[in-house]
């Protein structure tokens, strides 16, 4: 099979590059300044793709290629996430065994709040994602938690994202050194090369968006989480941000971390924050 061959060939090169001594352009006196980071991050993409409007970045690879865009628009006439969305709406409205509902766990009854997730919980000192909050809500009401990667979780959050469509990402970093540290951790994770392919998240989604890597057109990192959860044709189904992180890791031949591990939560925090101001477009459809 073709992909195998490509991987084998790539593998030798990857091992070599993996071992190339990293050029340590050590940057002096790093002060964590999320606002400046977000500004630089967005400017980078706006300059790289001067023709795109900021809000178009949330459409991922479809903003990068005309042929793809047309296929997407045709699919959007009756999008493949339609069933998940309907299921999620029903789940959201269905009370737990104790009579309470998801609406009781969230601000504004859970409607139109997706753009505020993840947030930093200053009591706990950790990043709380929407999926995590959903499972905590379930467990607090005596229900079993959902899988973090697909199925019910993807359907439920698809509906929650849908009620936030068009609302700009509004991630806050509270004045708490632990929040800054979480942001910094997420940033480090995003730029760190891993796996035998020696790719970081940025290798694909900062350096090469719009280019084809084998079959796929790479999505820009800016706005990439605004579309979550997504229906991926490659999965023939829905998946959450966690699922995407897991598959990204595997694709670089790195053993994925546990969904909702601290690293994944932090990188979601970082990536969401730097996309502040861009509208929620989820649920999305992707190749």
């Amino acid at each position: 099979m073709k992909p195998r061959l490509a991987i084998l060939l790539g593998s030798v090169a990857a091992v070599l590059t993996a071992l190339v001594a990293a050029s340590p352009r050590v940057v002096a006196a790093d002060k964590v300044d999320p606002a400046a980071d977000a500004k630089a991050f967005q400017n980078f993409f706006f300059q790289k793709f001067p023709k795109l409007k900021p809000e178009e970045f949330v459409n991922g690879p479809y903003s990068m290629d005309e042929g793809l865009k047309r296929q997407w628009q045709e699919k959007e006439e009756f999008p493949p996430y339609e069933f998940a969305l309907d299921a999620g709406k029903e789940m959201f409205a269905t009370p737990f065994k104790n009579g309470k509902t998801y609406a009781d766990c969230f601000a504004n009854g859970g409607i139109g709040i997706r753009q505020n997730y993840p947030y930093f919980d200053t009591r706990e000192g950790k990043v709380i994602t929407l999926e995590l909050a959903v499972n905590r809500c379930r467990e607090a009401n005596g229900e079993a938690p959902y899988s973090y990667v697909k199925d019910e979780m993807a359907s439920l959050t698809a509906y929650m994202a849908f009620t936030s469509r068009g609302k700009p990402f509004d991630i806050k970093i509270p004045d708490d050194p632990r929040a800054l540290e979480a942001f910094e951790n997420g940033k480090r994770y995003f730029y760190t090369r891993r796996g035998q392919m020696n790719f970081s998240c940025a290798s694909c989604h900062v350096q090469s968006p719009g280019e084809r890597i084998r079959a796929e057109i790479l999505a820009p990192a800016l706005g990439i989480l605004n579309a979550m959860p997504i229906y991926r044709s490659e999965w023939s189904g829905m998946g959450t941000t966690s699922r995407r992180f897991v598959t990204c890791n595997s694709q670089t031949r790195a053993v994925p971390l546990e969904p909702q591990s601290d690293e994944y939560r932090d990188v979601e925090y970082f990536l969401s924050y730097v996309s502040n101001g861009l509208p929620i477009s989820g649920p999305g459809a992707r190749p």
Binding site: F78, P80, F83
Partner: protein, 103 residues
Amino acid sequence: MASTIRVRATSNGDITEVQALIQHPMDSGFIKDAKGELIPAHFIQELKFEYNGKDVFVADWGPAVSKDPYVKFSFKGAKKGDEIKISWVDNKGASDTTTAKIS
């Protein structure tokens, strides 16, 4: 259980445009599951649209139609508020039926 069939039928003068999306695995019979065993073929064979007791569109499908299949067509003679009936049957004998109002 919710219907497996989603329909949008919109009237535009004399012409009614119909779009349908159906929840079905459309397993081709060529894919293996996690255990390496082939998933048997399972696909919708016939999808029928009726208006006024008459067929207006009939799809005969094989396993090469995508998962959660989609189809769009148009027909003449119906008007806003009329109903169309949609039904499918698959190769295992399962079926579903629904009606939709033309808007």
